[in-house]
Symmetry: C2
Subunit: 232 residues, 2 copies
DNA sequence: ATCGATTTATTGACTAGTTAGTCTATAACG
DNA sequence: CGTTATAGACTAACTAGTCAATAAATCGAT
């Protein structure tokens, strides 16, 4: 705080300071609450994904969404709640995607290949969810921990996964000592890390890992690695 | 550290605002440039790892390092350069670690197991480098790209890796169609992702993945998966 | 239908608190 | 004595969040 020790009373209005109560409005403003909310969430996803929670600026989100910053506070209260809303929307999209997939319960090997390829494809299609997850892990799952959403999303996924492994073991096309959690983490890891760290890896290996041929090669490499592990 | 050992000039004691040019110093200040720099780097590593580049506060780094903020600017110029210095120090530590490891060139399978376990162990031992890499990838390798350090570090690592794979293929203990980059990324992925995302994963699977027994199990799971893939 | 009252979507202006970075002084050390 | 390691005070710009105004939509009663 600099000079003025006094609370400003009546300041001499040398500059054309707008008088409260006589504001100028830009003209007719369409009102569409749902669309505004959704535009805010979309912009917020982008900004949070690009700079993490700490690097995101609410002003920037407002700008990108094409709404005033106030509207964000009107709908979401504060930055943290906005972040949580973005996270939950992304997780719900993930759940929807996995629900929409057909599962080959009669053929465990084919089912497993499908799961692997779908996991890879989804991460490729939604890179922002990767950034969000990274941000969330940087904060040690601070926000995810306080919600049961992610568990409820993974429950059916893991149940299907369990049935496939069980059937495959019964049929002796899979080994019998599988830890399902470890295996699921590995399937995710092989896709996620490649994409999440593609920027540093591309520089190190002088390959643009995001190029379609490398993506295709990678996907089949993952399938091969996991399937070779599963063999009894 | 209360009383100044030096002759004070007349300070106007009623006005608590210090007059420029007649500052009060806390007392004798030890000078140790190297130690100060190193304390700054250590504190910066911690703060950058905890909140990412955007979430880190230079004031907080100064506080944690026990130096004035000015000293940081004196030695490192600005926040970005400090971040780059932290990154380079971490990469150098990684290189040193890998240089220090013995390699079993005569036994490719054992050499590969060693590489896998060492990779895992190093990530476990230095969680902050994982956060740094995540931050760097969030920024699309902005800083790493402008330095050749990381490539020069990975060059000998990949050369050793190549020799092992080549020898293993010759001896027919490894398959012959290995893409070394893909394989290296997979080995890293299986360790890195488990640790990097342990906070969300631990919550999803209701297991504390950081606990020693799970870490040990994970390491051997990775060894098993990679080795089964390598079999011809 | 229509008109006034109420609700609510939306914004401009503002503020208190931060934050990266600077200016200047000082003292330790060779 | 000159160099430099170190810190205190300061600032301009930024940033999350607030206040108060305004107008579009909605609803209830004519």
């Amino acid at each position: 705080m600099a000079a003025s020790p006094h609370p400003k009373k009546d300041l001499p209005q040398l500059a054309p300071r707008p008088v409260p109560g006589r504001r100028v409005r830009a003209g007719r403003v369409e009102r569409n609450a749902e669309q505004s909310k959704s535009r805010i969430l979309e912009a917020a996803l982008e900004i949070f994904a690009a700079g993490g929670f700490g690097g995101a600026r609410v002003d920037e989100i407002a700008l990108k969404a094409g709404v005033s910053k106030n509207l964000i506070y009107h709908y979401f209260g504060n930055k943290e709640s906005l972040y949580v809303a973005v996270l939950e929307k992304s997780l719900n999209a993930l759940a929807e995607y996995h629900d929409s997939l057909p599962v080959h319960f009669d053929d465990p090997e084919e089912a497993m290949r499908q799961i692997i390829r779908n996991t890879f494809d989804y991460f490729v299609a939604t890179p922002k969810i990767i950034s969000l997850m990274n941000t969330e892990n940087l904060l040690r799952a601070k926000y995810i921990k306080s919600s049961d959403l992610i568990r409820s999303i993974y429950k059916p996924i893991m149940e299907r996964f369990h049935r496939i492994i069980e059937f495959g073991s019964q049929k002796s096309v899979f080994r019998s000592d599988i830890d399902e959690v470890d295996l699921y983490i590995s399937i995710s890891a092989l896709s996620y890390f490649y994409l999440s760290n593609q920027w540093t890896l591309s520089h190190i290996f002088k390959r643009n890992l995001g190029d379609a041929p490398f993506l295709a090669q990678r996907k089949e490499h993952i399938v091969a690695m996991v399937m070779s592990y599963l063999k009894p």
